[in-house]
Point group: C2
Chain length 436, copies 2
């Protein structure tokens, strides 16, 4: 009898590697019919009864004895109070993180532009912030102050006029650091509601909750399902899968560091995924040994162990080029290039949410305070999507201002194409502007 | 007995105007259970049987007698042949439009950036095009060459490595102008498949159809439903509602021009929405008269009449400021500012897909050849989303490269915040990088 291995080993040169990798990565989040049905009922209830539904549902789901909607509104002073209640070290850390996140995101702000053609026709793009954004913050154990900063600050940098936060307080439990983060991030209004009912309230509005234009932030399956259902009425961010890290190491980083970096994903939840890729087989052995040795020292050992055993892997590759191929195939949420010259390999990275370069850049630094966002595309969606950013809170309008001359010239082309599509009112509308 | 009015009249100063407006705008696209069920079956079939399923489903739904997948692949030479078959005027119009669309969209391309902090830490954002994009083009009556240009060109400008187009050819009907547009836009591969099966093939890949990273382009309810279901596996563009135009006019534009601009939306389909807003009541009368007079001259009179009667409106406002308020409330797909000084009012426009400035800028010019995209947010989604653009085919990766010094300083902040969230492996991973 051998002890259960903490993490599986794969070799990218094996004939059936791709099949093994596909299996390892496979993840499909499906809301079952029961969840869908309950969520649809909750949304309908909030749409028809507004505040009264929110009060009832909060009593039922959050075991909160509230008399009216007034009990579900947190005034700004309560956020300020939270700032007093956390430790000075916590407050300082939040402020440093907020400042760095703000300063990075300011570089993402996009400006309107336009240009004038020879005949006086002006074309351009006008960039406008959303009027109002909604931020969902989970209550209970998955309530993370850092998420408040990462979701609210890009909205404020974008110039969103009002940021509305919802956070459930089951059995009255309030996370003071979350409220302090909201104060620091400049959140405008806070309601202590959660679940599908909070999403419905943000999407459709009630007597007290103003309807928003976009809802962002993580949540459980009810929240995610509700976001899917209100999509279209409002914008939503990506529906996130479990968190993942892919570490590519040349074999020269301290194996304990790499093990801890893998743990920092694995401790999130049982479905989180931590993968190490290296061309150095002996180094993979050393990391495996570090994992075995350090796992028992973790506060969240059980979660990390389940995650590593179920979804983790140490992958041996023939060389760094193959490591890059594996990385692009996975399109990881977090990619750590723990190598001597990460800059050399950066051009080969096509798909990753965030890239952590060099041995010193632990993913945890990016999670909290490096500056870039920690809301990142998961489950391979980095192939087509981006970190949450200021651009998610701005939208564009095309500008077309034809001169009389420009309209006359363009009218001829539009007329031919419109008639080719049998859209003759289009053609005639253009033709009216053609000079005789 | 009076003749049926072609279009309703509203007054923004009426007490119940907002209720009337909400009713007028109300639109909810819901895929019923039957459609969902059939689409899910088709997706499952394509995932399990690949090409064989595509052949079967195409025989069934497109009444096409194909023997194998080879019959559903259009070689590049076929596209070139289409270029010969259309008229020289059509080819020239397509080329002019393509060139203008390309040149506008090149201004949307985004570049990577980075900056270095005092301690040597580098932060940045790397921009990468998608590897492969899929373009759905409807067959039959709604098959628009201009849509091929508007969807494919931004992808090519973004640097997408391969653009794959699908277009059904029911009963063998091929639209030569669509194929010519594909040739001009530089589409790389074309499959003559459609419906939910084409969406499934693009999302999951088959033996012949390569899986793509994002699917764009319009389609019927089966296509839209399939796109919703594959969202997450691949990216999708917005699910479009009926097309709409809002014309704001100061009363000084030729009423026939305005009537034809309204028709150019109304002729699209019975659910399209055309609304005119003006502070000049007498002008609204004149446009109503133009509508009555010109409607019978339209090739698509029946469609336009149904659209105007069901969803159209002439809205009187007290002044231009109120016109702007109504416009922002509607957040229209197309906004025509048919006024003397449109530049004066542009700063007040917060939400619109595209803004057509001045009396000469017919919306039809923007539909075909002005340069900006004609794929625009509908049904009020301009509150939070943007025209299709190059940015839809690029994605961003955050770059974090900490110096040893930077990691040490940031590690202290990350450690405090991680411990505040009880994520101690995160904390320890950061603490390893703190200098002793």
């Amino acid at each position: 009898m051998t002890a259960p291995i903490a993490i599986r080993r794969l070799n990218a040169t094996d004939a059936d590697f791709n099949r093994h990798l596909d299996h390892l990565l496979s993840w499909e989040s499906v809301s079952d019919d029961g969840v869908n049905q309950r969520v649809l009922e909750i949304i309908a209830d909030v749409r028809s009864r507004g505040d009264a539904a929110l009060v009832d549902l909060t009593r039922r789901f959050d075991a909160l004895d509230v008399a009216s909607m007034a009990d579900l509104i947190l005034p700004r002073e309560r956020l300020e109070l939270a700032l007093q209640r956390i430790t000075p070290a916590q407050r300082e850390a939040l402020e440093i993180a907020a400042e760095r996140v703000r300063s990075y995101h300011e570089k993402q702000r996009q400006d309107s532009w336009s240009y004038t053609e020879a005949d006086g026709t002006v074309l351009g793009q006008k960039v406008t912030p959303l009027d109002r954004a909604g931020l969902y913050v989970p209550g209970g154990k998955a309530s993370y102050p850092s998420s408040v900063l990462m979701n609210a600050i890009p909205a404020k940098v974008a110039g969103v006029l009002e940021v509305v936060m919802v956070v459930p307080t089951p059995r009255g439990e309030i996370n003071e650091i979350v409220l302090a983060a909201a104060a620091i991030a400049g959140v405008d209004r806070v309601f202590t509601i959660g679940g599908a009912q909070a999403v419905a309230a943000l999407a459709y509005g009630t007597e007290s909750v103003p309807p928003v234009d976009k809802i962002v932030g993580p949540g459980n399956i009810y929240v995610a399902t509700a976001k899917r259902h209100v999509f279209g009425k409002v914008g939503i961010d990506m529906i996130a899968g479990p968190s993942e890290i892919l570490v590519v190491c040349d074999g020269q980083t301290d194996p304990d560091w790499i093990a801890m970096d893998l743990f920092s994903q694995a401790e999130h939840d049982e479905d989180a995924q931590s993968i190490l890729v290296s061309p150095d087989a002996e180094f993979l052995d050393r990391v495996a040994a570090s994992i075995e040795r350090l796992l028992p020292t973790l506060e969240r050992e059980a979660i990390a162990r389940t995650s590593l055993a179920g979804r983790g892997a140490l992958i041996q590759v023939s060389d760094m080029q193959q490591a890059m191929d594996v990385a692009n195939r996975i399109a990881p949420e977090h990619l750590e290039l723990s190598v001597a010259d990460p800059q050399q390999w950066l051009p080969y990275v096509r798909h990753a949410g965030a890239i952590f370069m060099g041995r010193y850049t632990a993913e945890a630094l990016g999670d909290y305070c490096a500056g870039p966002n920690h809301v990142l595309p998961t489950s391979g969606t980095a192939r087509f999507s981006s970190p949450l950013g200021v651009y998610d809170f701005q939208k564009r309008s095309s500008i077309i201002h034809c001169s009389a001359e420009g309209a006359s010239v363009l009218g001829r082309t539009a007329s031919v194409l419109a008639r080719g599509e049998s859209l003759t009112a289009h053609a005639r509308s253009a033709e009216y502007r053609i000079k005789g």
